[in-house]
């Protein structure tokens, strides 16, 4: 059969047996489980046995790339990676951008399944039909930037997923970078690759992607690209990148740190840090950065990042004095393959514990100071698993919680992953709430909705966004009926549809960032999908397929023992957050209602209700499983 958009091929790699083979996909599967994320869930459910040790050869990595990737569809370049993650013990999908997925599709594959463990370090080389497990002994020990540069030099214009020393040393939270830029696999994909002696995955393709209805597709493209071109804010997005999405300088001002706030400003970024704007393949809203430090101790340092927010967020640490130090530290973290979000949270938390006397010099093996050198030392001992304390930190938050009860009670984690979106500062939108219910734990992407920072506006504007996301009319009424009227929207119910919308985008391969997401709606995504693949599915089919994937992911995690008890709001959220002279309380999105434990539980009850899951244990009911045709996965 001829496939369009899809390649119809799955590349299977058994590292233990050094065996590589290719499987054909079935059309009926591709209609039930759409593309990257959807098919990843199906393949993962078939391959992963419950209670597998994430760092054992029995764990698998399933890479998936959606049907729109590899075409010119605006913003379609995402790679999705499913595995069982060591930090949380949960089965989840991670997403990353840049050129790997695009190249994989061009090489002729929708998915790669990696199982087993290689005897010696290898990298997986995919050059169209030529597949090799190549010797990586010379790359082992190199950081991600060195590894990627070497592989780029050898196989020019390829996409590279690489781990650093943290992944090699099985640091639980180690992630990978795609093209030394885009984070991929928060929660431990780097460690999983390290446990398999897999240093990198390289893809380069020259086959091209054919379209089922090329004329219709090109018309859709031209119309869509004109909308993007004419977007009044486009120039500003291209100029500022992700800095436009989160006012880090305001966060620093709230902390009383005006001097540092200036270095997180637009003016400072443009003059002192920005070197070049880069884009993922097919993206009309380029927002990735090449940064350059232009003076001082780190003069000449070049850093690639998928979001300028990540290095600048490190400025919130009292130990860092200026943006150059923040970029330098961020660069070190990225090279090792550590997670900058986790390191930022961890350093702040441990510093507070040390100040309180909850952690002592004897506990940690060195004297803690709020300075650059201590932060750097902390990164080194985690990445290299040095000493007793370095090993504890490298095993992640669950191990750290064992140090003492105060630490266990005060850490801001959900399912073992540190909170990314702090609702006491940002208020409770779907991004904040979704961290509680995501099977993966506190995460950065799946809860996108009109409650993105600074988005939304009036309730009437919300309605437009809800319709765009494909929320059914009756459900929209429920979303506008929160537990307390003044809250305006029901974040619990809305989160269900944010997850479904995210799943549609991720399955097709589309970027979920607000500045791309805003140009897409369920109807339009369906039109693109049909024109590209030739599959005649309706918007309802696509929405149902997304729901099916999310439920299957939940079923997999139910088998791992996860239930409502794991969807727990951090206790600290119900206490004021001290930020400079401010005491910030846990409030709803519009800021008029304080979220009590009772309201939070009501939001959770209603989230499960909207999903058709049991309120008692927070898992899919038999009726829901049957309705979605998932019985065979029980």
């Amino acid at each position: 059969m001829n496939f369009y958009g899809y390649t119809g091929k799955i590349l299977n790699v058994d590292l233990t047996k050094d065996k590589i083979y290719i499987e054909d996909e079935k059309v009926e599967d591709l209609k039930q489980f759409i593309g990257g994320m959807g098919m990843n869930c199906k393949l993962g459910a078939e391959l992963l046995k419950p209670n597998t040790n994430p760092l054992s050869p029995e764990n698998v990595i399933v890479l998936g790339v959606g049907p729109l990737v590899g075409t010119i569809t605006p913003g379609a370049s995402r790679t999705v990676g499913l595995s069982k993650f060591p930090v949380t013990g949960a089965i989840a999908n991670s997403c990353g951008s840049m050129s790997f997925g695009f190249n994989l599709k061009q090489a002729g594959y929708d998915h790669v399944i990696i199982s087993g463990k290689s005897e010696k370090p290898v990298y997986l080389l995919i050059l169209d039909d030529y597949i090799e497990l190549a010797n990586a002994s010379k790359l082992w020990g190199q950081d991600i930037v060195e590894t990627t540069n070497n592989l780029w030099k050898r196989y020019e214009r390829c996409g590279v997923i690489s781990i650093g020393q943290a992944g090699e040393n099985l640091v639980f939270g180690a992630l990978t970078l795609i093209d030394k830029t885009a984070t991929f696999g928060r929660g431990g994909l780097g460690a999983i690759m390290g446990s398999k002696n897999l240093k990198a995955i390289v893809a380069k393709g020259t086959k091209g992607i054919s379209i089922a209805n090329p004329k219709e597709f090109k018309q859709l493209y031209k119309k869509q690209i004109e909308r993007v071109r004419n977007y009044p804010q486009r120039d500003s997005w291209i100029e500022l990148g992700m800095l436009r999405s989160l006012p880090i300088n305001l966060m620093l001002i709230a902390k009383g740190q005006k001097k540092k706030a200036k270095q997180a400003s637009e003016k400072y970024y443009l003059k002192e840090l920005k070197k070049r704007r880069i884009a993922c393949p097919s993206c009309p809203m380029a927002d990735k950065d090449i940064l350059e430090i232009k003076e001082g101790e780190f003069n000449g340092l070049i850093n690639y990042t998928s979001s300028i927010i990540n290095p600048l967020m490190m400025l919130t640490l009292d130990s860092l004095e200026n943006a150059n130090q923040a970029v330098k530290i961020f660069d070190i973290i990225g090279r090792y393959g550590l997670d900058s979000l986790t390191i930022t949270s961890l350093f702040e938390f441990l510093g507070n514990m040390y100040d309180k006397g909850t952690l002592t010099k004897e506990d940690i093996g060195f004297e803690w100071k709020q300075d650059y050198n201590t932060l750097r030392h902390l990164i080194e001992i985690i990445a290299n698993r040095e000493g007793r304390f370095g090993n504890i930190l490298a095993d992640g938050w669950k191990k750290i919680a064992e140090l003492n009860d105060t630490i266990a009670n005060e850490m801001l984690t959900i399912k073992g992953l540190d909170v990314v979106f702090e609702p006491r500062f940002l208020r409770l939108g779907t991004m904040e709430f979704e961290q509680v219910v995501n099977p993966k734990g506190a995460h950065v992407a799946s809860g996108g909705s009109p409650t993105y920072v600074g988005a939304g506006g009036t309730l009437e504007k919300f309605r437009n966004h809800f319709e765009r996301m494909g929320i059914p009319n009756l459900a929209i009424d429920r979303v506008f009926t929160p537990p307390i009227k003044e809250m305006g929207i029901h974040v619990g119910r809305l989160t269900r549809y944010s997850e479904d919308w995210y799943t549609v985008l991720t399955s097709l391969g589309l970027c979920a960032r607000a500045q791309i997401n805003r140009f897409w709606g369920l109807e339009l995504a369906t039109e693109f999908f049909s024109a590209v693949t030739g599959f005649e599915l309706s918007s309802d089919d696509l929405r149902k397929a997304a729901e099916r994937s999310w439920n299957l992911l939940k079923i997999m995690n139910t088998k791992e023992g996860f239930s409502r008890k794991n969807d727990a709001f951090p206790k600290e959220w119900f206490k004021p957050l001290k930020l400079g002279v401010n005491n910030l309380e846990f409030k709803d999105f519009f800021g008029g209602t304080i979220i009590t434990i009772d309201i939070a539980n009501q939001l959770l009850d209603d989230y499960y209700d909207e999903r058709g899951w049991s309120k008692q244990n927070g898992v899919p009911t038999q009726e829901k499983i049957k309705d979605l045709g998932l019985d065979k996965f029980l």
Binding site: G70, T71, I72, M98, S99, F102, Q106, E156, R157, D179, T181, G205, T206, K207, G208, I209, S210, I211, P214, K218, I225, V228, R229, I238, K275, R276, R277, I278, A279, C280, P281, S282, C283, P284, A286, I290, I302, Y304
Partner: protein
């Protein structure tokens, strides 16, 4: 009167490596989305300075420049 001819001006510093130019070119001349087969080639797309070049088969139709969203390509009429 001086004859004019089409020329595609390249501003490499504005290129983001998005490959839209290559995708557009290959879709017109190869009927598939295939940067490797495009008449415009981008090397070192994510290096500090990308390198943009045109193959001999390029007929200067200018579609790559028309769809370049970052100002890296510009179709101009120049006097011969």
């Amino acid at each position: 009167m001086a004859k004019s001819k089409k020329k595609i001006m390249i501003h490499e510093e504005k290129c983001t490596g998005c490959r839209i130019c290559q995708l557009m070119c290959s879709s017109i001349y190869k009927q598939r989305y295939s940067p490797a087969e495009a008449f415009i080639q981008i090397n070192d797309a994510y290096e500090i300075t990308p390198k943009i070049s045109f193959l001999d088969d390029c007929i200067l139709c200018g579609q790559c420049a028309k769809y370049c969203l970052y100002g890296a390509l510009e179709l101009k009429e120049v006097e011969e």
